[in-house]
């Protein structure tokens, strides 16, 4: 069944949209990532203009994150104070990202910039996570293996403006969380992602937060950052397609609930290995598109349009 999307100005199959939403929503519930890093490339693939894909992707992330964060709030696995600090950074980053996005659109290089960011971020993050989670998995297998220290002191702990984050059991400077939030905000605006795939590892390895609260807290920050990004894209580019978003969301929220249930049954280490592999797979797919000679070297853009 074809459906005409008023802002994207294309017709797509309704069931494709619901399917994309549900599949991505399930992963989002399992891993605590917004799923934007899968939705945006998938939307490109089914022929949605890049600007609409990015803006609508951000809107979809809001919905898939809200149902996730509610589940986490009930389990009390959200560090609201840390989330707020991350959010302040997120809003700053997102504003900058919107400006960057307009500039890249004018240069005709949005697709390339988005693809390159995907390869770069997904590649680095995926590789680091895979290495770390495989190592952790080995440790749990070996009986009597050396346990990790509770607190590892790094340069992060030497910075000023320290603050106490009780839920996370941390006493650290607000500068690293703000920087983490800001970089995630930029990605949210440029790539249409929530940024969970970069924020979750940054919270674990850089800020040293306990894994238990990481997912809920990142979802909390993501909701507000992507909400802000959605509004900004709607105002500056008129590129949010509500019709498209609604169908993605419809599939997504159902998928997310199922995913949360599956996630609870898997061990944290297994979950991290799976997420790392998924991130690497998307990275390789996007990289191949850039490296293999395209069938059609030419492409059309409507000047003064989206």
């Amino acid at each position: 069944m074809l459906i005409y999307l008023p802002i994207a100005e294309v017709s797509t199959n309704l069931f494709t949209l619901l399917g994309v939403g549900a599949g991505v929503g399930m992963l989002s519930g399992m891993f605590g990532v917004g799923g934007g890093f899968l939705i945006t490339p998938l939307l490109f693939f089914i022929g949605i203009p890049p600007a609409v894909a990015v803006a609508t992707g951000a809107n979809q992330v809001v919905a898939s994150s809200i149902s996730g964060v509610l589940a986490h709030l009930r389990r009390k696995t959200v560090d609201l104070k840390m989330g707020t600090v991350l959010l302040i950074g997120g809003l700053i980053g997102s504003s900058f990202g919107i400006v960057l996005f307009r500039w890249l659109s004018a240069l005709g290089q949005v697709d390339l910039a988005v693809q390159l960011s995907y390869v770069l971020f997904l590649g680095i993050v995926g590789a680091l996570m895979l290495q770390e989670s495989v190592r952790a998995w080995y440790r749990t297998k070996k009986v009597g293996a050396k346990r990790r220290k509770l607190h590892q002191h790094t340069w992060v702990h030497a910075l000023p403006f320290k603050m106490k984050f009780r839920v996370s059991g941390l006493y650290i400077s607000v500068i690293p969380p703000i920087l983490v939030g800001a970089s995630v905000g930029v990605l949210s605006a440029v790539m249409g992602v929530g940024g969970g795939f970069i924020m979750v590892p940054a919270m674990i390895y850089l800020l040293g937060m306990p894994t238990k609260v990481v997912v809920g807290t990142s979802l909390f920050q993501i909701i507000f950052t992507t909400a802000y990004t959605t509004i900004m894209h709607a105002v500056t580019g008129h590129s949010v397609d509500i019709m498209l978003a609604t169908f993605l969301i419809l599939g997504g929220v159902i998928g997310a609930q199922l995913g949360t249930q599956i996630g609870l049954r898997l061990k944290a280490e297994q979950l991290r290995i799976l997420l790392a592999l998924l991130v690497l797979a998307v990275c390789i797919k996007v990289a191949l598109d850039l490296l293999i000679r395209p069938d059609e070297l030419y492409s059309i853009t409507i000047a003064g349009g989206l």
Partner: protein
């Protein structure tokens, strides 16, 4: 519908003035509504050729002299847009957009239906005047700086638009009955841009345009699509908020519903 267009034809025939040979046409519909379930639209273009009295008398002579009969060309042209064509090249191992050529005025949709292959019934000189072939319609020779290099970009544009069925050359799609009546079916694709789609009908003889007739199809978003589109452009902030509210409600509702299911 058949009866309706026959009635239309009779009306047209009756209203023809006397004089040189003329073409007059009409459309099965002159409005296309883009609603949520829009999946393309079939347009019937039909009309009549009125031959002048001299012509009828000269017919026998012409036939003896081997002059060709009339041919009909129907053109549907979507709203024009300033269009950029980009070319990718390998830079440091990566395929990226490097060059672009801007074409000032390119129709978003372009269909040419003819009663015989276009190149046989239209001389290049007439094509240049009336801009009938897709190549002329996009002003290919004025692409960028007009260099042979820029022409490659214009050709790529034609190729891509033809592949997505936004540009169509429909040879022998116009049926001419008894040298008087003609009709053509043109399918508009699901991905249409809003605006007026000018429809031109040309009466051709010996490579020349003898007469032409113009009308238009109005393509417009309608219903919910219209409302959303207008809100997005006129009240973008409200529109953004609406997008968020839908997201929040959907997210919350799903979570609530699943909790109920688990508890029961």
């Amino acid at each position: 519908m058949a009866r309706a267009w026959l009635a239309g034809l009779l009306l047209l025939l009756g209203s023809l003035p006397l004089g040189a040979s003329e073409i007059i046409g009409a459309l099965s519909q002159n409005r296309v509504s883009l609603t949520a379930n829009f999946s393309g639209s079939e347009i019937l273009i039909f009309g009549a050729i009125r031959r002048s009295a001299d012509e009828v008398l000269a017919e026998a002579e012409a036939e003896a002299a081997g002059l060709e009969d009339f041919d009909v060309v129907v053109v549907i042209e979507g709203p024009r847009q300033r269009t950029e064509v980009w070319r990718k090249d390998r830079v440091a191992g990566i395929w990226m957009n490097v060059d672009s050529v801007t074409l000032a005025s390119v129709p978003s949709f372009y269909a040419v239906a003819t009663s015989a292959p276009l190149t046989e019934i239209l001389s290049p000189e007439e094509d240049e005047i009336y801009r009938i072939s897709p190549r002329q319609a996009i002003r290919a020779e004025q692409a960028g700086d007009g260099s042979p290099e820029a022409l490659l970009f214009a050709e790529a544009l034609l190729r891509i638009r033809e592949r997505t069925a936004h540009f169509m050359t429909l040879d022998r799609f116009v049926h001419v009955d008894e040298g008087i009546l003609f009709r053509a079916n043109v399918r508009l694709p699901p991905n249409l841009t809003e605006g007026a789609y000018t429809t031109r009908m040309y009466l051709m003889q010996g490579g020349q345009v003898v007469s032409q007739y113009r009308t238009a199809i109005f393509v417009r978003k309608d219903g919910l699509e219209r409302w959303l589109y207008e809100l997005a452009y006129e009240q973008p902030f409200l529109y953004g908020l609406l997008a968020l509210v839908i997201a929040l409600i959907a997210g919350w509702a799903a979570s609530a519903v699943f909790r109920l299911i688990r508890q029961s």
